[in-house]
């Protein structure tokens, strides 16, 4: 589904990704872990098409197509979804309001008929249950005055509505208490299917107790320096990241 080859990216002349390789297949859950500043969020942003980042080298192939030239909305319409680490607050725009427009633009792109108000509402009610979301919240200004947990649940709610092929969860666990974490994780798990894939970007192992990854990758200095199964995450939890850093510098020497 996703093939990243030798990806190098920078922002404002600061090099962040240094030749990253990653392959994700349908039905898989990949966790990307790593110390602060290793490039995790940059990878998530570059995948979603954020224009502040400049890709100097490498390729991102998604469903067999190079997507580097695609605008964020084109990627979204092809089924890429980014759950933001810091969901944006937009005064005066409600989730319901923009999501209806978004879904219908995506449906139009796919050659499907626009959802009418009734079907949209029905779909919304069904997906709200998944993350125990309150409808009143969805008609309020987007994320304005939402608690940390509400913001993240809103992200997963939108993911449920858009039914992406490739979901990237950027530090979705940050700022969540354990109850909220469970709700979010349950939502993500419920959306898992054989024809979609999930990339979970996280600093801590905690989330991976609930969203169990098939693969764990360690990102350091803009490259994936170690890959393994879920046990790698446990090892990182126990030992921290220093041994990885040492291993990497050892290799370089």
């Amino acid at each position: 589904m996703l093939k990243i080859k030798n990806l190098k990216a920078s922002i404002e002349d600061k090099q962040i990704l240094n030749g990253l390789n990653l392959e994700v297949n349908a039905g898989e859950v990949h966790a990307i872990m790593g110390p602060n500043g290793s490039g995790k969020s940059t990878l998530a942003s570059v995948l979603a098409g954020r224009e502040d980042y400049e890709v100097q080298e490498g390729s991102i192939e998604y469903q067999g197509e190079d997507i580097l030239e695609l605008a964020p909305e084109e990627r979204a319409r092809e089924g890429i979804f980014l759950a933001f680490q810091y969901p944006i607050e937009i005064p005066g725009v409600s989730t319901t309001n923009f999501l209806k427009t978004a879904i219908n633009q995506i449906r139009e792109h796919r050659g499907e008929k626009a959802l009418d108000a009734v079907s949209f509402l029905k779909l919304m009610k069904e997906k709200m249950k998944l993350v125990e979301m309150d409808q009143a919240l969805l008609s309020r200004s987007l994320n304005e005055g939402f608690s940390g947990g509400e913001k993240k649940r809103n992200e997963i709610f939108q993911m449920a509505m858009l039914e992406p092929k490739l979901a990237i969860l950027d530090e979705t666990d940050s700022g969540l208490d354990i109850d909220a974490l469970k709700i979010v994780a349950n939502g993500v798990n419920a959306l898992k299917a054989d024809d979609n894939a999930t990339i979970v970007v996280t600093h801590y192992q905690r989330l991976l107790d609930y969203i169990v990854p098939d693969f764990v990758h360690v990102l350091y200095n803009g490259r994936i320096v170690k890959s393994g199964d879920k046990n790698l995450a446990l090892e990182l939890e126990e030992k921290g990241y220093d041994w990885i850093k040492e291993e990497v510098s050892g290799e370089l020497v």
């Binding site: 502040d52 933001f84 969901p87 944006i88 725009v93 978004a102 200004s141």
Partner: protein, 428 residues
Amino acid sequence: MQSTIDFQDALQASYEAIQLATGNELMKEFRAKAFENFQAQGVPTRKYEEYKFTPIDRFLKGKIDFLRINETTPITQKEVEEHFYEIEGSHLVFVNGQFHADWSRIHGDLSLHEIDENFLSGDDQVLGQIADYEHDPFAALNHACFTSGISIKVASKEKTSVFIYHVIDSRQGQVISQPKVCLEAFANTQVAIAERLVLIGDNTLFHNPLTEVLVHENAQVNLTKVQAYGESHFVIDGVNVNQKRYSNFTANTMSFSGKLVRNNLNIAQLDENCESHMNGLYLLGGTSHVDNHTAVDHKMPNAYSNEMYKGIVTEKSTGVFNGKIYVRPGAQQTNAFQSNNNISLSDNATIHTKPQLEIWADDVKCSHGCTIGQLDEDALFYLRARGLDELTAKAIMLNAFAQDALTGIPFEVISKEVTEEIANRLAQ
């Protein structure tokens, strides 16, 4: 310089022609005194502080022929009525600055009269009493040369709605329109007025309407203006309000275009416990120039005012905002708030914004803030990452930004119309 003199001469000649047609001595005197004041002030140039960013002389120079008399228009009653809002209330029609009694519909017991000398000989407290024409050249010019005027007096205990249609038909040539509206809302009444423009033809327009409003004790007046003028329209729109105790006045000024639109909104709170709201939106493109000068004068204790103007400028348009708040020594316990937020969507658009607070009382709460910025890129990316194309995402955000300024409009039909206008403008 030469043409400035010509321009003043032409105004003088046009004033003299109007005086010749004025039969009554009192009215002649009224016009003469006003014209003296106009001449003393002159047509504002860049040097005139209040018109620094809107030098009217430059705008008008060579554009308006003040010696020309409006041609008669072929417009019919039926054509005009098609523009009437389907809302219960009085519907009043001006055509090219001339009040059209036959085409107007009075609802209920609204007292409506055309302005004549009787308003000068009696004890009318509105005509010529509210606008400070000694310091406002265009109020003086309207007094001196007004084409036609109406006086509305509201005494009804029921909610009163009045719709004023300014029909401008320039198909036969340039139009000069200087209508006058006087409104007196007696104690405990509630009045909502909305002005609608009906523009036909695209010849030049000089439009200098003047509204004077007296809001008595515990009365509420709401005035909505939707300004979507054309590229050859020059407008100076004066609204002057006096408020008595426990009264409430709201102005909603929605501007979308016009070669030159200058709004002078002046509110004086003469008594205690007055409340004033000033809401404004300007969403401009092309080379439109819209200037909102507002002033609220708190003279007595326990006063309240809240002002919110939102601006979106694109292409080569210019938005000007100047908000004055006076808190006089006697106006203790006053709360006055002002904000002017702007979004510029182009490198060639201009915003001038200036809060001007003068506070002499020491126990007051006043705040003001003005911002000029671009659209929030993070928010834009967020919406696009959910599948919205860039244009739609921008439109959604700008619409949300603008909506705050619409909250004071009391007619749903009109706020919907304004919302649609916002969407249309943003789609361009």
